[in-house]
Subunit: 210 residues, 2 copies
DNA sequence: AACCCTATCTTGACACTGTCAAGATAGGGT
DNA sequence: ACCCTATCTTGACAGTGTCAAGATAGGGTT
């Protein structure tokens, strides 16, 4: 009780924190944003929340589990965003409107990756998918997210904004690969200067458009 | 002299190794391939080569410097590969031939990324470019590599295999972003099963082709 | 040949990291 | 009032990157 607790969510700090799991998750995202992946350690995280080193292990099996949970928040965001765009496209009447919506989503996607670079990296990077082990829940949600992307692609194919020479799966995969490639260049900081971004997006959209 | 030296390149092991720098680099690439990025530590590396923990630090300032050097070997490979393809294209007479060469390079690039996944990740990943600090030499070589890619793109634009509605820089950026995106999906192990790879490549080539 | 300079390598140490095992605490139901 | 159990803490261990200081010996100079 005498030790300083720098970042506690509850003012009535006691032996039992109350909502540690949630606090940890939020703090982890915050630390990740501030100091990058190197700045996020279990111990720093515990310290940041004002709890002992091993306390987080009662809420997250692993560091890997924690990272998966962060990735999940990202996918949740994406799922709801895509859902919203699907609805908008269904409401749109003219083809021009639909095309504009596609471009809007394209930009929104990139902006999300840019402003949540660390989370984005966890969502699609090898830290979890190759080196670590994606949680069951994460795998499920990521599949769901891609399925929704495919639904969006189908709508765009129907509106003749994307090619329907190929299955929605193929078009979805290659379209998304392009989008993802752009994001990676941006957030990994290679070959793509920020002032070129806008021109790049336009150029890429020209390639993708039917 | 009594301690076992598991992996030494020279049979006449003595206090001075002789070509430690080179041995370390090769061993690092080997360890990386075997156990992934988590399996490559300065200490394991030293152990592997049969030398004390801090010996590598006399040849590589940092772990970061070591990683940069590994990335450099990758870029050297790529530069010479692109160079070879440029020459082939200059020799090609028919457009069909040139198109085939482009597709060949496309596949070769992906295959390189696939078979040298860890190196590829160092070359373009955020481990060096965002979290770490790319060496001067690495930056130079990576720029050079991209410049050569642009030369290849120009040739392809001249042959009307790629669009010349935009500058070679733009077309080069977006084309490469697509290619890179595909590679990332593959080596990061997300959304792209190996059996889908061939179909994906074809589908992507259709998109990219004029 | 003897000598020393210097490149090369080693040992010791420190502050970190993830994570396990065992003990301390206290809120909620009996 | 009591205890059960979820929750949190302390101690410990192996592993990491990296610095400082000492040991070694190969090659050029005298």
């Amino acid at each position: 009780m005498t030790k300083p607790q720098p970042h506690q969510t509850k003012t009535t700090k006691s032996y039992h924190h109350g909502d540690l799991a949630d606090s940890l998750l939020k703090a982890a995202i915050e630390l990740l944003r501030q100091d990058g992946p190197a700045g996020l350690s279990m111990r720093k995280l515990a310290d940041y929340v004002g709890v002992s080193r091993t306390a987080p292990y009662h809420h997250f099996k692993d560091k890997n589990a924690l990272l998966c949970e962060i990735a999940i928040t990202g996918f949740q965001h994406q799922v709801s965003t895509v859902q919203a765009f699907i609805q908008k496209i269904e409401c749109a009447t003219t083809q021009a409107q639909k095309k504009q919506l596609f471009e809007d989503y394209f930009c929104a996607y990139i902006e999300f990756a840019d402003t949540h670079a660390e989370t984005y990296d966890l969502m699609y990077g090898r830290a979890i998918w190759k080196s670590g082990q994606p949680t069951e829940a994460l795998q499920k949600l990521s599949r769901e997210s891609f399925k929704q992307w495919l639904i969006l692609i189908e709508k765009l194919q129907q509106a003749s904004i994307l090619s329907h020479k190929d299955t929605s799966l193929r078009v979805g995969q290659s379209t998304w690969a392009t989008l993802h490639g752009l994001c990676r260049l941006l957030i990994d900081g290679i070959y793509l200067k920020r002032e070129d971004l806008h021109a790049m997006i336009k150029s890429t959209l020209v390639i993708l458009a039917v």
